[in-house]
């Protein structure tokens, strides 16, 4: 883990709502693993705290994140220019590949909205012998970022792209039609969506892990601010930033 001031390589709209910010970091490009996040100081003074972002892509010495502008931090980020620098700290958290063992054949990726972020990188790095099926959900089509993914199935609330309905509806529909060999679910997105999909996965006897979101002050285990309640086990809480962000959903008290 390192704190670095890195130059911005580009800032581009992937859709009307979603931006990709690419910066140059040999270090992160060579160490980051799918599912990990970096913690960005978006401004000098404002906002005060760093903002965590999943690693979206790694290409040579370039690393990128995707985000939509929702609040103070992303507003500042969206105004960055090529050539400016940003202060990044990472890679943080555990990663999908070290987290799961080999006991599955189909990787079922389920992303809600900007929760798509880790799956492109994960698709690239996943063991070659695995099948992938990717379910993307969003409110409308401007929230769907499909590049670099495999075997994509899309659901939007308003039907502007793909299936009209929730991503869970789409998954149910799809699983009623298709057979996937030894599926394992990988979730990232709003907690409520992950809870629902996790119940479905458990229902069909599939393993299910999720990258959990949570307000973070430090992202590196110093503040104890990012606790998540466990479902039994030795500890009542675990730290999302350090002991996660990826957990088996069965261990979580959603």
């Amino acid at each position: 883990m390192k704190q670095e001031i890195v130059p911005i390589h580009s800032l581009e709209f992937l859709s009307k709502e979603i931006l990709e910010l690419t910066f140059i970091s040999e270090y992160l490009a060579s160490t980051a693993k799918p599912g990990q996040f970096i913690n960005i100081r978006v401004g000098d003074n404002f906002p005060l705290l760093r903002r965590p972002f999943s690693i979206f892509n790694v290409d040579e010495n370039r690393v990128s994140i995707v985000f939509n502008v929702i609040g103070t931090g992303t507003k500042v980020l969206a105004r960055k220019q090529k050539g400016e620098t940003i202060d990044v700290l990472g890679p943080c958290g555990n990663d999908f590949l070290s987290f799961v063992d080999d006991s599955f054949d189909t990787a079922v990726f389920v992303a809600g909205g900007i929760g798509v972020a880790p799956f492109r990188f994960l698709t690239k790095k996943l063991y070659n012998n695995k099948q992938i099926v990717t379910f993307l959900g969003g409110r409308h089509k401007e929230q769907i970022i499909a590049s670099g993914l495999q075997n994509i199935k899309i659901a939007t609330d308003d039907g502007s792209q793909g299936f009209k309905g929730t991503v869970l509806d789409l998954i149910k529909d799809d699983f009623s039609k298709n057979m996937y060999k030894r599926p394992r679910f990988f979730l990232c997105g709003p907690t409520r969506m992950m809870k629902a999909v996790s119940e479905f996965a458990t229902g069909i006897g599939a393993d299910c892990c999720a990258s959990m979101e949570c307000d973070m002050a430090c992202g590196i285990g110093l503040c104890q601010g990012c606790n998540i309640e466990m479902n039994g086990g030795d500890k009542k809480y675990r730290l999302v930033c350090k002991e996660g962000t990826i957990f088996e959903t069965k261990n979580l008290k959603f």
């Binding site: 003074n45 005060l48 705290l49 590196i220 110093l222």
Partner: protein, 313 residues
């Protein structure tokens, strides 16, 4: 350039510490921070038994600050001694154990266990804890209890004993005087300021406990004023805490009269803040002809023509 400072018999290599609850137990970020460059590390508050802490959400950002109610989640003093202290051996810095408790008796027991440990160089007592006997009112707002705690703990250790004061009182200097009278080696201040934030969409508090502790740059002016009040009331060293993110901030505290400073929230943004602060303070002293950081302490020149009676806000 003399950077070191002694409290009791313990010499800290510089006057910059990292604050309790903002740096874990000292072993969390070895690859990001060379903690041997810090004057010392104050541990997360330790209680007798391990504590899970409060439900989520525990933190929220506010204007130039943050609220927290971690609930003193900690591994408990025994596990600290068995698992953490050995790891800290390899670092050349001082370890100040911060103690939290819900009864005077618990303070004493935790301190006794830690006092026996050579690797623990001193104590900081977090009195901003709810007194179970009094239905949860904070010890730190009752000057008699703070006196009592100081007295009891003083009898149990010869190591530096620092009482960490809460700002949520009318006259913090009264508390500092009481600590001084009972033999504390120093006081540190401020702990967090009680605050609150509301999620207007859900109409719920933004942290689970409704109110929490405000920290960060927002409270720096408050902390400086409390330190100023305190250094004018006691002779023991005052350790300044509150909103320090840069060496300039630390210099403000030294000028006002703090003998040491602690870095809290800033560690969440830049875990190495303590080191850059130490370097900046040193350079400032060099540039301004102070050959000892101690000479900078309490150099504030105030406008003597303004009397208190006149100083209406």
């Amino acid at each position: 350039m003399i950077e070191s400072f002694k409290i009791g018999d313990v010499e800290f290599k510089n006057r910059i510490l990292v604050a309790s609850g903002t740096f874990g137990y000292g072993d969390e970020v070895p690859d990001l921070v060379d903690i041997s460059k810090l004057g010392g590390v104050v541990t997360k508050s330790l209680s007798m038994k391990p504590r899970d802490g409060n439900p989520n959400p525990r933190i929220t950002e506010t204007a130039s600050g943050m609220l927290n109610s971690i609930g003193l989640a900690n591994i408990g003093v025994q596990k600290y001694i068995s698992d953490k202290l050995p790891v800290l051996k390899k670092y050349d810095t001082k370890i100040v154990a911060n103690i939290a408790a819900s009864s005077v008796d618990e303070y004493c027991k935790v301190l006794e266990l830690l006092d026996a440990q050579q690797r623990v160089h001193g104590f900081e007592i977090n009195v901003s804890c709810p007194n179970v006997k009094e239905g949860g009112l904070s010890f730190g707002t009752d000057v008699k209890l703070v006196s009592l705690i100081t007295k009891e703990l003083r009898q149990r250790t010869r190591k530096p004993l620092i009482i960490k004061l809460t700002p949520n009182v009318t006259h913090i200097s009264e508390f500092a005087r009481a600590c001084e009278a009972e033999g504390a080696d120093a006081v540190s201040l401020i702990n967090t300021v009680i605050g609150m934030a509301v999620n207007i969409h859900k109409r719920t508090p933004k942290i689970a406990t409704t109110t929490g502790g405000l920290s960060g740059p927002a409270i720096k002016p408050i902390a400086l004023a409390k330190v100023y009040e305190t250094v004018n009331a006691v002779k023991i060293p005052v350790i300044g805490i509150g909103g320090i993110v840069s060496w300039e901030d630390a210099v403000e505290f030294f000028i006002v009269g703090a003998s040491m400073v602690q870095i809290g929230t800033a560690n969440f943004i830049n875990p190495a803040t303590g080191i850059t602060v130490a370097e900046g303070v040193k350079k400032y002293c060099e540039n301004n002809g102070f050959d000892d950081v101690g000479r900078l302490v309490r150099t504030l020149q105030t406008n003597k023509t303004i009397s208190i009676v006149d100083s209406w806000l």
